[in-house]
Symmetry: C2
Subunit: 449 residues, 2 copies
């Protein structure tokens, strides 16, 4: 590991330098850091420290740092940058990174960024922005390294040596036909280890695939992960090469997709980052809390229907949350496995029936185990054998319902084109709560009273 | 996109071929598929179909397919492979992939794999296995491309052209000193675009870092993601080069870490895959259901303390699950944000206080909103103004407690070296349930009766 890392000591030293208004020392501390670490630092310190730091370091923010910043902070940082510094920062970026920055900015700030670009880059960025949001076209870089199919290794090397504007990072030479349709690619390692007279066609990779510019970025991440790609050519609707996506972008999307799934399943919404304001965070979460309130009221109305039963035996009120809680947890377990398997495309029409059967069996098995256990506990606690029987049976029914709901609801939502990570939770909880309360209180009023 | 994809039609055709015992047709259908898709196919069909398919395709499984298979299935597939086919499959793999396969196999099967390897590879694999599980040493490939610091581009190209055993994939030439300490690296793109007489040292990358072989693989994934690395040299305790990790391995780890966090937070445990048996899945989930049972009983004992109060006003039993449910959800929201931020290292000692304050404010804000809303609903439902007041106040208290528990519990667990994704859930639920029931029923018995 490099020694120039962002540890607690360095953060403290940086804050001291800012407080002492010591610009030289600040520069000395920040300069060796990686852009990603500087971005993290800016995210972690408070808003007023951030303002002070930027004022003391007016020329420090470059394009790379801007790319790394969280969107909630980025706008604030851009507002504080002088037009010249902003222009310089934007101009050093690849077009895909400029697009990434533009996407998160308010429409009225777009001109400040676009105006800073050279004409040719501006056209490239505007063309990329014409692709749908979250599509491969937005993700790709337009800078590509191509060669005609009939070239040999020597010709490719000579071309690269004479080309002034190669992309920062590239991993393949893409072979194209005269109409710019990609026909295959050669890894740079193969180019370097082959003699100059070897034809590129002879050393191209066995497996070759392209991505359409309109394909959603989630599919791009899946393809990279599934087929272990390093880079992949992007084509338009006529199969002509328009750009290339590299694995670092795909890894980024994969990371964001995971984060999104995780936060959506917990009902935190899409916008959540630690830099969101109290107001934004509260608003985002309130939506799901409101949905949860409705399902909780629905469950309560089931209890309400058995109010007389509870009035005659308060032990029911004591025990009923246990049934609902176990059902909720079992449902969440199954639902999480289902949502994850749908996201990784491991759960398909092909094995759906077998997976449903397995989940039902798991639900029944754990239902019996915990039904029995809870019956013993309730029997010992309240000394009523029939109450023990009621809670045991209710537990089995609830856990089977939880398994069924946990698998069928995400699958059903997916079929209707709704993101299962976003919407499964409320439905599954409704099922487990309603079944749990109804089974327990219904059996109780039938058997006990 | 390639046309040779694993869609429902192809799966059906494959199953038809297996049923008809048509080996030629089966081969024709499977041959153009990518190894990752064949592995998916084997995972998605049932065990008996799988056995039939493998019997009809005895020489089909190669090293790549073996690497891609889910561990639950892999052992079964290996058992059905003839020793020769297995040996051939294993021999074509890079050492890091062999290590990956060995890790998941029973100890007694190791010899079958190791015996198939050439002596030099066996030594390499055994050395890798001597590193701790889930460490960089297990993840790296030992095949590296190095050059002395003083070489120029031409020397490097000549060396690569004459070297017979270059790795399958490599992205950098690593510059080493005479004692094999890595000093920097050059991307292949830079090598290819520079004249033969340019010194490698002049075109090396600005930012260069190494990873220690004992570093945990989760840190490796973090470093690749944070610094956008494509490959990274691995060094031993004397800073000597021992291997290299490439981004596809890091992406894989990142994907697995995410999956682990997601499943752990839902209490599904580590082993879950759709290929697990009913028994394995039920056992894994039962652990967490048992923990949940204990916390639910604890919450019920709070209710039990107020049994008299409930006996006098059954409306309390109807409403109390709403308070607990809202608390549980708000706690899960905060906890998920906290667990995710800890995993991405966005939540540090530096900003902990500010994040805690923000979460408390979010809890208080949403507590007041939903407290007021629920007070109105309860007032309208039961027509008791004091009951409305009680549930409103209880809701505020519970949502603030949920926020506090949701952020402090994961942070505390992390400090004690316990994975917050694994253990936060039960603790947070205990807090929200106990506070929810206690606040609501306590206030009710104090104010209403």
């Amino acid at each position: 590991m490099e020694e120039d890392v962002l540890d607690a000591r360095r953060v403290e030293a940086i804050q001291d330098a800012v407080e002492a208004q010591d610009a030289a020392r600040l520069d000395e501390l920040l300069d060796p850091l990686h852009a990603a670490d500087i971005a993290d630092l800016l995210e972690q310190i408070g808003p007023s420290d951030r303002r002070d730091l930027l004022r003391l370091w007016p020329n420090g923010i470059d394009g790379e740092i801007l790319s790394e910043l969280d969107e909630a902070i980025r706008e604030e940082v851009i507002d504080q940058m002088s037009p010249q510094v902003l222009a310089e920062a934007v101009r050093e970026l690849d077009t895909d990174d400029v697009v990434d920055i533009l996407e998160d900015l308010e429409e009225e700030d777009h001109d400040r960024i676009l105006g800073a670009l050279a004409a040719v880059d501006r056209v490239a960025v505007e063309r990329a922005m014409s692709y749908p949001e979250y599509s491969a076209g937005r993700l790709m870089q337009r800078e590509v390294v191509i060669a005609p199919e009939h070239w040999n290794v020597g010709q490719a090397i000579d071309y690269m040596r004479s080309n002034e504007s190669l992309p920062d990072q590239f991993y393949h030479v893409i072979l194209v036909d005269p109409r710019m349709k990609p026909k295959g690619y050669v890894t740079l390692g193969r180019v370097l280890s082959s003699r100059r007279d070897v034809l590129l066609r002879e050393i191209e990779e066995d497996s070759f695939r392209t991505i359409e510019a309109t394909e959603p970025e989630a599919d791009v991440a899946y393809i990279f992960n599934q087929y272990h790609l390093i880079s992949c050519p992007v084509v338009d609707e006529n199969d002509r090469l328009v750009g290339v996506i590299t694995i670092d972008d795909a890894m980024n999307v994969l990371d964001e997709e995971h984060e999104e799934d995780m936060l959506r399943m917990a009902g935190v919404g899409d916008e959540a980052s630690l830099s969101d304001t109290v107001w934004e965070a509260a608003k985002g979460r309130a939506v799901w809390l409101f949905v949860n309130l409705l399902t909780a009221i629905l469950a309560s109305s089931v209890i309400s229907a058995f109010a007389d039963t509870i009035g005659q035996m308060v032990a029911l009120a004591v025990l009923m949350p246990i049934v609902a809680s176990m059902g909720g947890n079992a449902g969440t377990q199954t639902m999480t496995v289902a949502v994850r398997a749908l996201a990784t495309r491991d759960l398909t029409a092909q094995n759906a029936f077998r997976v449903i059967r397995r989940e039902a069996a798991v639900g029944a098995l754990n239902g019996m185990v915990f039904g029995l256990l809870m019956a013993l506990i309730a029997g010992w606690w309240f000394g009523l054998p029939m109450l023990a029987l009621v809670i045991g049976v209710a537990m089995v029914l609830t856990l089977v319902a939880a398994a069924a709901g946990g698998i069928l609801i995400p699958m059903g939502l997916q079929r209707f084109g709704i993101d299962p990570a976003l919407a499964s939770g409320p439905f599954v909880t409704t099922v487990t709560d309603v079944v749990g309360f109804f089974a327990f209180l219904g059996l109780a009023s039938w058997i006990l009273l």
